[in-house]
């Protein structure tokens, strides 16, 4: 296990200590969806801390395709709409096989569908693209994922204030 990974694991476990410590499936619940009120009184009884823990539903309500429309307009991003999610780009991608954060197919998917919450989680990964162009060679639909990654990194930067809030 590499240093980075150890650090990540420590970070994860310490985050678990703070929030939703007693949730058995802690690993599968996103931090942002656990609500632990610092002070919660119901009928005169103190319910703060673990006893007031709420897990918000992970259902997506906002399908904001603004980024998608931006990507379509940016240079080389015009083909993103052709993607049919076969996964060939990720299959050939040398970065994806080394870094689990980077998955071109998934990035295209969340941008196309406008899953803003997922984009918020994964948008940083787009800068990992090394631009080797193997994905564009492999793509059976002519999506040009390499170009789409270029357009995407620009669009994510342009929307950074919304994505990192």
């Amino acid at each position: 296990m590499s240093e980075e990974e150890k650090k990540r694991k420590e970070k994860e476990s310490s985050a678990g200590e703070e929030k939703g410590k007693f949730i058995i499936e802690r690993r599968y619940v996103d931090d942002s969806r656990i609500i632990e009120p610092k002070k919660l009184e119901l009928g005169g009884i103190d319910m703060s801390g673990r006893w007031g823990t709420l897990v918000l539903p992970r259902t997506l309500e906002d399908f904001d395709t603004e980024i998608y429309r931006d990507v379509e307009k940016l240079p080389r991003g015009g083909n993103i709409g052709k993607c049919w999610q076969c996964g060939n780009c990720t299959a050939v991608c040398p970065v994806a096989h080394a870094h689990s954060e980077f998955n071109p197919r998934y990035l295209i998917h969340i941008v196309k569908m406008g899953y803003t919450s997922e984009i918020k989680k994964h948008h940083e990964a787009v800068y990992l693209c090394s631009g080797c162009g193997l994905c564009s060679a492999a793509c059976p639909k002519g999506v040009d994922p390499q170009g789409v990654m270029i357009a995407m990194s620009i669009a994510f930067k342009a929307h950074e204030s919304e994505l990192t809030e």
């Binding site: 599968y28 006893w51 897990v55 096989h97």
Partner: protein, 254 residues
């Protein structure tokens, strides 16, 4: 591409010839599973496939996602019945897939069987999870302890008396770990408060009706022992099993 690259790819394959990356959203952590004991992995798969219910609960999965769409836990946590069936499907050839799930993943399911209702292939992901949970208890896997700990007293109560919660548990001492720090405060005047409830039967509830006859308890514990429940629990919650043993001895069930 060059051979050095191929060698590099080869270097990261596991013993079984697989390497997994990650898929955001699915929280795939195969590397964790790799650290597990391969013998246990194979045993888990074997026990699952040999279970009497397995044939009824599992047919084949075409990845349609109907089960996931109906799954209540899926709304809250990253748990997908579809993934469960998929991993069960691949378990024969890739036991680590299944084993990886045994630790925490399966405890998200609470057997509502919504998935069973809707599956076009008549699989029962919830049922498969139930079998897997039993196997996890039997093998005393890490997360099982964590999952069962809050219920240890209730477990003890069920195993010895057949009743879950009894009024004598509401005391200022002998607190339950999962009942919270305010329990003592709440239970302080409980007898007085209950006495004020104008229902005749409450008196009986408080004093007599929940008490279990010694014979019944003895019989119950013999059944638990013979059925292997005590053994199963002893792998995960040793102290509970010990307490049950002690109570059994007191009741004279030997």
């Amino acid at each position: 591409m060059d051979s050095r690259y191929a060698a590099k790819l080869l270097s990261r394959l596991g013993e079984d010839g697989w390497h997994y990356g990650g898929l955001p959203g699915l929280q795939w952590e195969a590397e964790n599973a790799r650290e597990g004991d391969r013998k246990t992995m194979l045993q888990v798969v074997e026990e699952l496939r040999n279970d009497v219910r397995f044939e009824e609960f599992y047919h084949a999965c075409i990845n349609c996602g109907n089960c996931t769409s109906m799954c209540p836990p899926f709304r809250l946590v990253d748990f997908e019945p579809r993934i469960v069936v998929q991993k069960v499907m691949h378990s024969k050839d890739e036991p680590e897939l299944l084993y990886q799930m045994m630790d925490q993943y399966i405890w998200s399911c609470f057997q509502c069987y919504s998935c069973w209702e809707v599956c076009p292939a008549h699989n029962n992901p919830g049922g498969l999870v139930a079998i897997l949970k039993e196997i996890a208890v039997r093998h005393g896997l890490q997360s099982t302890k964590k999952a069962l700990e809050p219920y240890s007293k209730i477990l003890y109560k069920i195993m010895t008396t057949g009743t879950q919660i009894t009024p004598d548990m509401h005391t200022t001492i002998a607190l339950f770990k999962d009942w919270g720090p305010h329990k003592a405060e709440l239970a302080k005047d409980i007898r007085v408060e209950r006495a004020a409830v104008p229902v005749e039967s409450m008196a009986g509830v408080m004093d007599r009706s929940w008490r279990v006859e010694k014979d019944t308890m003895r019989e119950l514990m013999v059944i638990q022992k013979e059925a292997g429940v005590v053994d199963a629990v002893s792998h995960t919650l040793k102290d509970v099993a010990d307490m049950v043993d002690d109570t059994a001895k007191e009741a004279g069930a030997e």
